[in-house]
Symmetry: C2
Subunit: 222 residues, 2 copies
Amino acid sequence: MADGPKGETTGKRQTRVRRNPEETRRRILEAATEEFSAVGFEGGRIDSIARKAKANQRMIYHYFGDKAGLYVAVLEQALSDLREEELQLTVDTFSPREGLLRLFDFISGHFDRHPELVKLLSGENLLDAAHLRRSDATPVISSPLLGLVTQLLERGAADQSLRAGLNPLHLYVSMVALSYFHLSNAATLSVIFTTDLRCDDWRAEHRAMARNMLDVYLGAIA
Amino acid sequence: MADGPKGETTGKRQTRVRRNPEETRRRILEAATEEFSAVGFEGGRIDSIARKAKANQRMIYHYFGDKAGLYVAVLEQALSDLREEELQLTVDTFSPREGLLRLFDFISGHFDRHPELVKLLSGENLLDAAHLRRSDATPVISSPLLGLVTQLLERGAADQSLRAGLNPLHLYVSMVALSYFHLSNAATLSVIFTTDLRCDDWRAEHRAMARNMLDVYLGAIA
DNA sequence: GGCACTAGTAAGTATTCATTTACAAATGTT
DNA sequence: AACATTTGTAAATGAATACTTACTAGTGCC
């Protein structure tokens, strides 16, 4: 039983909520995603995350080990979510060109719907992917989408609707560049060009223009 | 005159180097550029910057006010350097299409030669351009390159080598996307795809592919 | 019901960090 | 030469921060 002084704190304590380890861990992860995507790893604060999660700081160390462990878990969760959606994609019923355009639509749509992923990836690159390199969850971060690009390019070479010998990784990186950059760098671009690159109209128009650029290119590499 | 205890420190002091305020300020700015481009604003450390600069921490506050002031000065310097190079560009003697390709070559070349600018811009976007917004050096951060894009598109519309009505900012942002993303996100892409996107061969090939994509697109919007 | 273990709370600790204080030396001005 | 100002050094300070310690309460198992 508690001694005097400590017994006093018992009176101060609010009644504890029922235990729910999965729910606590989930809330911590969600709060950490919000925090790290807003200010990056070094800007993130453990006490701020605990507060947002309505959990004790101790629980962060209990579930994740340390701040870096939490951050890696956040990255893995975000990349795992992306992978889950990528695994739903099928492009078998489309022509190679249309299939590639559908992949572009998926990529740009996913980044539009998940600005936190854009921020997390940008932040992790700032740190030279030092934390992601430590991840041992390779299967959850690997992207099946490159495989789809490869398949489509092979199919296009076979039916001669696309030129043979195209490098899928180069094409993939260009497609992602056209989907990602206007989101990731919207803040500085808006300041430098005194134009709001964040409004929905601008973004929709930009996606359409970028999609058209890709489409024209795919038509030309026929 | 020094009192007793403090007089003792005189004996400890190394002989001071000759004063050179411009040189000290330059070394601090250079060291801060290195530090902030490596780890971002929040990851940057004043003592680390002072050490790299071979200057006293006090001097950082003397010249720049505070950490944020130093960071803004770093951003302004980097953007001013870019602007200086952009102001050297002329595309008057080129066809609109060739002129735009030359601008693409400039953009991608500048980012290749200045990886610290890529990191600084990515880092500042992570912070929602909060520091850049505070900059009052608007003339040095504004980019003349968009004006060149605009001129070329207008000239192309006039001589009918390019379609009329194209939005210069959308085209500009796409051109920068194709020049920047493979550099800014090379770290995470290398981990996810277990391919080194940092080697020179990969980058040269990627630039050529991206340039071709732009070229094809410009040909198609004739 | 008792015991062992885990989830969770509250508070504390050591270190880090940006910034300031106090002062000395170099330099410019009179 | 004396004085004023600026550049620069060294150390200190207060706040922030990640993480740990000590403990309590909830839960599972026997």
